[in-house]
């Protein structure tokens, strides 16, 4: 009886099933039609489109699935997870679109099918991270995301940088995921289960506390912090971001991060804190120093990210450090541990998707023309490729968090949440870091518009496809900076089971 019920539940995972079907279909096409590129693209894009439609369809419903013999569900489809899935799917959509442009290596084009399959596997990983409530299932989703990512980072096989990136990602990832599973095993030992709800209940009953629990949490956090590239687990980020194929770097900076963040949110909202809100502030289930942990990591990430970014000469590396800093900003929103903070994090993430994807897109486009990622080679791009240069500036301004761009709104909401939570020091640090970050973002713009190129740029020209894609990302970045209520509503709707 349970089996039939579970099989039935399996069919309720519509988005996941469609995604898996698309993966298999792509494999089939790859095998039997000799990798017909058009067909591959059409199928993958339509597939993601269907998945997105399904996700939007279920974006306000909640459903418990796989209720086991112990009476607790293994998975719950609910709006917060769906929000993360939407973010991951959209970034995968863009990544596939970017792939067509990236001309870093000719063999990459030939192996597009494999790339798509692995990419969709990572998306599936994020999907399971988003709606699982069992640590082992979460861990498997986490590994699916990681393992496919290792391969994708080394996708540009002929480039030594890409190979190196994949090795580094692998070693660092394997270490941190092994640490994480060790933490899970300790947590299992303390509670006798891997189900989040039961662990929460046990923690809530006050039966557990002490150093071993703290150790398990630190181990768990190490794995999450690796995924969101937060200090002090960020070391892989710049190296991997720089080496990986740029369109995958874009994906990594958004989808992989949302995977880490949704896991963190899941653990915080459903495991370590009381369900629902007592007044405005989240109440931890046991007396762990959550505020301290999050604030420390947040301040560390933003400060280290921004300070080291000041010295970077390679744009991808610069963006990597900037993404570390952004992990810090996002963590600050979570550290507020109140409802405004949670909304702010989601809003920020939606905008972060736009601006970060956009920035990497322009990096790809410019690299196609000048074959370089070094800032000093960006001199004079402003006059040669004005659309790209302006779009990049918009994204950078947005990443800095200046009006009238979306990034400003996101940062503003986070600041707001921090002030509400009386975390004035953190707010101050966030503000200070934004000021620091202004310096290196402006430096990029200086190279684009003001510095003179040493040698004439060759026949660099903008192409229509790239231009349209840039606009698709740049225009909303501006529009959402002024009219952002829809995103706000979306974020609030995503948290409707958690908000007071």
């Amino acid at each position: 009886m349970e089996l039939t019920q579970n099989l039935h539940d399996l069919l309720s995972l519509r988005a996941e099933l469609v995604l898996t079907a698309v993966i298999l279909l792509l494999l089939g096409i790859e095998l039997f039609s000799k990798g017909n590129k058009t067909l591959l693209r059409v199928v993958s894009l339509t597939g993601i489109g269907v998945v997105l439609i399904l996700l939007f369809g279920e974006s306000s419903t909640a459903q418990k699935l796989f209720i086991g013999s112990n009476g607790v569900p293994l998975m719950i489809i609910e709006p917060l997870g769906t929000f993360a899935k939407i973010i991951a799917s959209i970034s995968a959509l863009f990544t596939i679109l970017f792939m067509g442009i990236n001309r870093e290596d000719s063999t990459m084009v030939r192996r597009e099918g494999e790339f798509m399959v692995l990419l969709l596997c990572t998306v599936l990983g994020v999907f399971f991270l988003s709606s699982s409530y069992d640590l082992i299932l979460l861990y498997t989703g986490f590994e699916l995301l990681s393992i496919s990512s290792y391969a994708l980072a080394g996708y540009n096989k002929r480039s030594s940088q890409s190979s190196e990136a994949s090795l580094k990602y692998l070693v660092y990832g394997a270490a941190s995921s092994a640490i994480m599973i060790y933490g899970i095993s300790i947590l299992y030992g303390l509670t006798g289960t891997t189900n989040i709800f039961i662990i929460q209940a046990i923690l809530g009953s006050g039966a557990l506390s002490g150093a071993l629990l703290l150790m398990a949490i630190v181990f768990l956090l190490a794995g999450i912090a690796f995924k969101i590239s937060a200090f002090p687990f960020h070391f892989w980020t710049p190296d991997v971001y720089e080496g990986a194929p740029t369109h995958f770097t874009a994906y990594l900076s958004v989808a992989s991060k949302i995977g880490g963040f949704i896991l963190l949110l899941r653990l915080i909202l459903d495991l370590f804190f009381r369900k629902g809100f007592n007044s405005e502030i989240l109440q931890p289930v046991s007396d762990l120093p959550w505020n301290d942990i999050l604030i420390f990591i947040s301040i560390g990430s933003m400060t280290i990210g921004n300070l080291v970014a000041l010295w970077q000469k390679n744009i991808k590396r610069l963006l990597a450090y900037s993404s570390i800093a952004h992990a810090g900003y996002l963590l600050a929103g979570i550290a507020a541990l109140n409802s405004t903070g949670l909304v702010a994090v989601l809003v920020y993430f939606a905008f972060y998707l736009l601006m970060n994807m956009g920035a990497f897109l322009v990096v790809i486009l410019i690299k196609n023309e000048i074959h370089s990622e070094m800032l000093e080679d960006y001199n004079g791009i402003g006059s040669k490729l004005p659309l790209y240069a302006i779009a990049l500036s918009i994204f950078l301004v947005s990443l800095t968090g200046l009006p009238p761009t979306a990034g400003f709104i996101g940062k503003f909401y986070i600041l707001m949440a921090l002030v509400n939570a009386d975390l004035v020091l953190l707010a101050f640090f966030l503000f200070l870091n934004s000021v620091i970050s202004l310096y290196y973002y402006v430096r990029v713009m200086k190279h684009l518009f003001i510095s003179k190129p040493e040698k004439e740029l060759g026949e660099a020209k903008q192409n229509v496809y790239g231009g349209v894609l840039t606009l698709v990302l740049a225009v909303p970045t501006i529009i959402f900076g002024i009219f952002f209520t829809p995103i706000l509503r979306l974020a609030e709707a995503a948290l409707k089971f958690y908000l007071p």
Binding site: V171, L214, A222, F233, F235, I293, L310
Partner: protein, 688 residues
């Protein structure tokens, strides 16, 4: 009066320059004449602003149109964007539009042939738009947004000829100096928001009147005022951030006229006037002191400078200082009056300087000029009128407004017993007259006549500028005369502008106000009887003294530069140290170079060092120690022999620690960092 109609016009006036900016940039690709789009829209701006002024002129000081809409909504908090029209904003809106229009016209010829001609006009458009935004907003948040936008557009315009290193450097300097100020302003705005939960001026006023104080303390109210004033220190180039303005002269001269004389620098003063109601006596005193310093220091620098635009730039600084000082003394109406009159004649002065520079083929050094009256009579006429106005000679607008400020200093002196500001005011008047007439004499009447003739004999024509440039000059000259502000040339107080203005109304609680305003309660008129009494008492004394100072300055300049009775060189030699000190602008730039640049460098070095040491240091040290440990098996004598060498190796290794960076590129080291981090994190949190 139909307020909906007025709002529409106001919105047209606000957005017209933006439309000009956008359409110019869009049309730029297709036509060489794209700038006419901008000309058209700036015309629309003038007409709209003019209509607004005319329609409301009857009851300027009662009028308040506020239309606002919600921008961001939170549970409990709403941010509104909105417009507020009162005497100040309507007048300034028109002033900005008019001057901007004249500068546009002037630029048609002046910038002709520049390779980024249309872009220049587009920039002027975006600048005017941002300025309009500052003028008509009803809240601090929106003001800050436009404030930054003004900063950006001025950055673009100062660095317009960015091929010149000096221009792009100046643009950067302006940008950075302004950031310093804006940082303070932002902090102030946040403080306002935290305290009152709103950004709108009316909301803040209500809050203050109902007794809310930041952190319940008068001290913090003063801090709030001073923080907000920081924005003005940056924008209006007040001491000690005044250094950017003279350098900003690297931009095209019409830009200097528009931005660095009439509008942007006035924005700071305007902002302080807008927030006047929340300034406590302490904050006002700080403002007055900063104003006094900014009035005095540049005035002393001005008469040692040889670059025609730099002289004018220092004079602008000095006049802005006067305005700020007047606000600090509680006379914001007088400050605003001077702001308006100054806007016209200073814009005129810059344009006239532009005309001279144009006629002299981009010569800016007054040592190479002389006797230009003969070649450029119309420019001379205009320049002379401006000079009279800025020096405060009767029948000009400048006389009325400057007199009003000086009067205020004397009132303040008599009511508080503190006469220092009056002394500064009159001193500055004297110095202003002196260096302005110096300029007039040296450039147009006497000066290096032979040099100019020599120049001409070599086939370089020195000529009057074409009409499209001269007409704006003459219009501005006319606007520098008294009838446009008051029909009584001796008293600006009775003119429409001053009458249309509300008296200072402070919302600050009694104990925190100036004593001469303390008894007025919360009524609209903020001054006590004694203030008005003193104002009548000192009116004519101030006028006489002011005339005396102006005449003194004129006389000195006349003796030295017209009669040429005094050899300036001997005096220069005599007062060499003083002269050098003044000539080098009190060494502010050098000082900042040392303090700021060096300090920034030092900080970044320290950060770099920190970066390099913390973990990488550990790594290298580890490597070193490992090596040492493995060497332990070596022979003792080898150790002794090699000891010295090893010591040096260690030493260089240690220096290497300082230089290398955190990110070693070795993945395994990163993995080690994970472990270290975990252990440290654990102990960090296990202490409880």
């Amino acid at each position: 009066m139909n307020s909906e109609f007025l709002s529409t016009i106001a919105i047209i006036a606000l957005f017209a320059p933006l439309a000009g900016f956008v359409s110019t940039l869009l049309l730029k690709k297709w036509t060489k004449n794209a700038h006419y789009a901008e000309m058209f829209f700036i015309g629309v701006n003038v007409v709209a602003a003019g209509t607004l002024l005319v329609m409301t002129a009857g009851d300027l000081h009662t009028l308040h149109i506020i239309s606002s809409f919600n921008w961001i909504q939170f549970p409990g908090i709403t941010f509104e964007l909105g417009f507020q029209f009162d005497s100040l904003s309507i007048i300034l809106l028109f002033g900005v539009a008019l001057i901007s229009f004249l500068v546009h016209t002037f630029s048609l010829q002046y910038m002709h042939g520049d390779k980024r001609y249309s872009r220049y006009f587009a920039y002027l458009g975006i600048f005017t738009f941002s300025m309009n935004g500052i003028v008509i907003t009803n809240n601090l948040l929106m003001m800050y947004i436009f404030w930054e936008l003004v900063g950006l557009s001025s950055y673009l315009l100062i660095g317009f000829w960015f091929e010149k290193t000096s221009a792009s450097d100046a643009a950067k300097k302006a940008f950075i100096a302004n950031r310093f100020g804006d940082f303070g302003m932002l902090a102030g705005i946040l403080l306002v928001f935290v305290t009152f939960g709103t950004f709108s001026f009316d909301g803040i006023k209500e809050g203050l009147l109902s007794g809310i104080l930041p952190f319940n303390s008068g001290f913090w109210l003063s801090v709030m005022g001073v923080l907000l004033f920081c924005g003005a220190i940056g924008k209006s180039a007040q001491f000690p951030l005044h250094v950017w303005l003279p350098d900003a002269m690297e931009g095209p001269t019409p830009v200097s006229a528009l931005i660095h004389a009439a509008t942007m620098v006035a924005a700071g003063v305007y902002m302080v006037i807008k927030i006047y109601f929340l300034l406590s006596a302490d904050a006002l005193l700080v403002i007055a002191i900063i104003g006094a310093l900014s009035a005095l220091i540049p005035a002393t620098i001005a008469f040692t400078q040889y670059d025609i635009k730099k002289v004018l730039a220092y004079s602008t600084l000095s006049q802005l200082g006067l305005m700020v000082m007047a606000i600090g003394l509680g006379a914001f109406g007088n400050a605003f009056f001077h702001l308006m009159t100054h806007a016209f004649f200073k814009a005129g002065l810059f344009l006239a300087a532009g005309s001279v520079i144009y006629g002299m083929h981009h010569e800016q050094d007054i040592r190479h000029m002389g006797g230009l009256k003969k070649y450029m009579p119309k420019t001379f006429l205009a320049f002379a009128i401006y000079t009279l106005a800025i020096s405060g000679v009767p029948l000009t607008s400048g006389f009325m407004s400057k007199d009003a400020i000086l009067n205020a200093t004397m009132i303040y002196g008599s009511l508080t017993g503190n006469w220092i500001f009056a002394v500064v005011g009159f001193g500055v008047t004297f110095l202003t007259a002196f260096y302005m007439f110096r300029l007039l004499f040296r450039v147009f009447i006497k000066g290096n006549i032979t040099g100019v003739e020599h120049h001409i004999s070599h086939g370089h024509k020195v000529h009057e500028s074409p009409n499209v440039m001269v007409v704006p000059l003459l219009v501005l000259a006319a606007l520098s005369l008294f009838p446009f502000f008051s029909f009584n040339p001796l008293s600006g107080e009775n003119g429409w502008l001053m009458k249309g203005m509300n008296f200072a109304s402070s919302a600050v609680p009694d104990g925190l106000r100036y004593t001469f305003m303390a008894l007025a309660g919360t009524s609209v008129t903020g001054y006590t009887e004694s203030y008005f009494e003193a104002s009548h008492h000192y009116h004519y004394i101030a006028m006489a003294l002011s005339l005396l100072c102006a005449l003194g300055g004129f006389g000195l300049a006349y003796t030295v530069y017209f009669k040429e009775k005094v050899n300036t060189e001997t005096y220069k030699a005599k007062f060499r140290p003083v002269y050098t000190f003044l000539y080098n602008k009190w060494y502010f730039d050098e000082l900042y170079e040392v303090i700021i640049v060096k300090f920034t460098l030092l900080t970044s070095r320290v950060l770099f060092w920190f970066d390099a040491t913390v973990v990488d240091g550990l790594v290298n040290l580890t490597a070193f120690l490992t090596r040492k440990v493995s060497d332990l098996g070596g022979l003792f004598d080898k150790y002794v022999v090699d000891g010295f060498v090893n010591f040096t190796a260690m030493f260089t290794g240690l220096i290497g620690l300082f230089m290398r960076k955190l990110q070693t590129g070795k993945i395994q080291t990163y993995v080690a960092f994970i472990v270290v981090s975990i252990v440290l994190l654990f102990f960090f949190y296990a202490r409880q």
